[in-house]
Symmetry: C2
Subunit: 318 residues, 2 copies
């Protein structure tokens, strides 16, 4: 059973920890968002790849959500003292990932190759692919409270400016010129199920779909009979994590389990909603024509994640 998952950050990491308990890990391919990759201090930082890696390797910080467990921040504290750019959280142990990745890239390796090196060193048997080896930065058109127009990298909007600006539009820059990572289209074509992790549709999943050929790959697989099932990242009208509620309205999406499913027109066969959104199930089924499963989607531990991934996989293959 070959499973392909489209993955953002922390929600995807938790979900995939459950998935590799019910599917042979080597048969799982996660295509991971790199739209919020950023170059900072000369380092190539891939926040979503890192989150997924750390969760799958069992070294993620469960409380903080992002970064490594048993982390320290001595370098970042000193960056602050040295009047450097300290707005992006970088732990001392986490830094090693960025150092090794950047060194590999500087030696001419691709982001795919650097990711394979890191997942291998971390002992992760599942396959992690960046959505592309080419940069496809997620850019945000916004306006300040004073009405000043801004066009900025998503991380600047999200972390540096604390999502305080009014978002007008989101753009996946260069997506149609970018090539999918080697193996991504083949994995989609050979998938028995395609799962969309409970990640932010606007800044995690749609960037992946914006890479030339990936949306078409999912559509082709679906036409060939492969189930394509997502898990709603919105529970009870609010994101479980993060600030998706700031971004979904800006691109015309209702902040609800319905709105998140509506983010993928023509792609899905099924949608998993939280039991708190049970009353929304029939609307999603009827209006969007999807098969629906209802479960507790809050992944407080690996057992919960296993249950959620099993529900999604069964909906895709059943």
């Amino acid at each position: 059973m070959n499973v392909v998952a489209l993955a953002g950050g922390v929600g995807a990491g938790k979900f995939l920890r459950g998935l590799v308990r019910i599917v042979e890990p080597r048969d799982v391919t996660a295509i991971v968002n790199t739209g919020d990759d950023i170059s900072l201090h000369g380092l190539h930082i891939s926040p979503d790849i890192d989150s997924v890696m750390y969760w799958l390797a069992g070294v993620a910080d469960r409380d903080r959500g992002w970064g490594r467990s048993d982390e320290s921040f001595r370098a970042l504290d000193e960056v602050r003292r040295l009047k450097g750019q300290s707005w992006f959280g970088l732990g001392d142990v986490d830094l090693a990932t960025h150092l090794v990745r950047t060194q590999l890239l500087s030696e001419g390796k691709t982001l795919s190759e650097a990711t394979a090196h890191l997942t291998d060193a971390l002992g992760i048997p599942a396959r992690l692919l960046p959505m592309s080896d080419d940069p496809v930065p997620t850019m945000v058109h916004a306006a300040t409270e004073e009405g000043q127009g801004l066009y900025m990298h998503f991380q600047v909007y999200w972390v540096q400016r604390g999502a305080r600006d009014q978002v007008k539009a989101v753009r996946y820059e260069g997506g149609q010129e970018a090539a999918p990572a080697p193996g991504a289209l083949e994995a989609l074509a050979g998938a028995d199920a395609i799962l969309i992790c409970p990640s932010n549709p606007v800044v995690s999943i749609r960037p992946i779909l914006a890479v030339r050929g990936i949306r078409e790959g999912v559509e082709d697989a679906r036409r060939g009979g492969t189930g394509v099932v997502g898990v709603s990242p919105i529970v009870g009208g609010a994101p479980l994590r993060g600030m998706a509620d700031r971004l979904m309205p800006a691109v015309g999406l209702e902040v609800s389990a319905y709105g998140a499913a509506a983010a993928y027109p023509g792609l899905l066969t099924g949608w998993v909603v939280d039991e708190r959104d049970r009353d929304m199930a029939s609307r999603i089924r009827d209006e969007l024509g999807l098969r629906i499963a209802v479960t507790d989607t809050v992944m407080t531990d690996d057992d919960a994640a296993e249950r959620v991934s099993r529900v999604a996989l069964e909906l895709a293959t059943g």
Copy 2:
């Protein structure tokens, strides 16, 4: 009293701590070797600038010699686990310097500007100039035990390969195309004394002199009556620190207080030798035509460093 010091790493840092106790720190300009700067993990690392900064800011590790005091190595340990390049010692706190410098360079600042930012943030009132804002890497021609020829960056020879190869020649690549850092030639022209810190002549001081115009600037100042005095880095026929004994013979220099002075033909007016080399004083004076001072040059603490710098300064100005 304006003093210019040509500076390598740790020995220079210790010496300058003494110098700023007897000269107004803002009147001290240190022109620092950047020949062993290296790009690693995408970061711009300037080992000698860092050593001098850390010593002057009082945050150097006195026991280890290099790097920061109260240091930890969590990032580097993890780089090793991730099968990255871990041969170059990078502490967690030390990393902050490289992160901030690299960020500033990536924003288009020069190495001089980045250095000024860092010394300002560290509260260092003396002026530190890189020898050049252009790269002038110190390269080593060598042969392995098996006779294989190698041409490599000094740090690869020194740190990665542990100085185990036989050095045939040392080259300061691009020195004659590089421009001195802004202010360096003006500082030399306006100096009341020029001091050469007790640093490795082959890989610390000569790289500085290899930058177009710097040697001429020292010669002009000397002709104009400015004393040019160095402190021998060789005591009792061996370097106090480091592996200068591997490099001096390769470029035809005797490993002695005499040989170190002979590394600067036509530049010096005086030379400070350690009392253990007292019997060599007359040879240096007679053969090289230098004024000689003899003192205990081992800088075990700031009081000792102050004494050594005072002896050098008096020899230059007396």
